[in-house]
Symmetry: C2
Subunit: 139 residues, 2 copies
DNA sequence: TTTCCTGCAAAAGCTTTGCAAGTAC
DNA sequence: GTACTTGCAAAGCTTTTGCAGGAAA
């Protein structure tokens, strides 16, 4: 679906700012923070304020267009990929996507081999696993 | 192990503030925020500043005495229970412990029955599940 | 006595809010 | 034209920092 139709289907007006923020978010594989989105979109010849980024992201979350990811430090991160997957945060704060099957195996057996597989497949350095189920919006 | 011995085993000095913060955290089943711990401990005839609470909690985390839980809103939450379990956050922001086996079943099959079981066993109202694996400290 | 810890106050970082001007529909 | 959206600036909340005084070992 085109982004404009996506907004319309949710009763959201299609503004330049929303389009750019949404597309920057959907394009990114880095699960960006509000600040990162602000800097990405602002430079691309679009008038934009931080307040709008925050408002926009909250609106997107409310309408199921993206998800706010829990984090322990820095600002909140956002993900427009609502498909079935988990997230893995490295010591540096980066967030990586993890296929559900791999994540579930990790949960079932945090063996050295599983960790090695995670590290190999994602190219990250795993230091500790802190697992949480977050239940915070409509089913 | 007594709390004082626990501190000593980690090379930490045993101060009034640390003892009270640690025991308030260990006693609580609510996964309190720094602010909540500050208010709990401060009222119980103990001189305490917010800065000390933050310093203390970071020190505890560094020494493996507690864990910082990722969250999407409000302040970070802390848990001194390092045993094998997962967390479930409700729409109101409360964090509940979930036995690992139940959490893994949730991950494997987010069926209506599983949700109902979660709700029944924890007495909470589940609205959405947002799942993340956080890897952010030493293994 | 030495080293570590605490409190205070200030600052920094992230996010929200009120309101007037502007824009989508 | 109406209702929604934006930008700005200020405020709010959480967390960190520098430093001097104080306490543990």
């Amino acid at each position: 679906m085109e982004t404009k139709e996506l907004f319309n289907s949710q009763g959201l007006r299609c503004t330049r700012q929303r389009l750019e923020v949404y597309e920057a978010l959907a394009m990114s594989k880095r699960h960006p923070t509000a600040e990162e989105l602000f800097r990405t979109v602002k430079t691309s010849q679009c008038v934009l304020s931080r307040a709008t980024v925050y408002n926009t992201l909250e609106t997107f979350c409310e309408h199921g267009l993206c998800r706010k990811l829990p984090s322990t430090e820095g600002g909140a991160r956002y993900d427009a990929d609502l498909s079935d997957h988990l997230h893995l945060t490295t010591i540096s704060g980066d967030v990586h996507d993890v296929p559900s099957d791999l994540g579930i195996r990790l949960l079932k057996s945090l063996s050295a081999e599983t960790i090695a597989e995670i590290e190999g497949r994602l190219g990250v350095s795993v230091k500790r696993v802190d697992i949480a189920l977050h239940v915070d919006a409509d089913f």
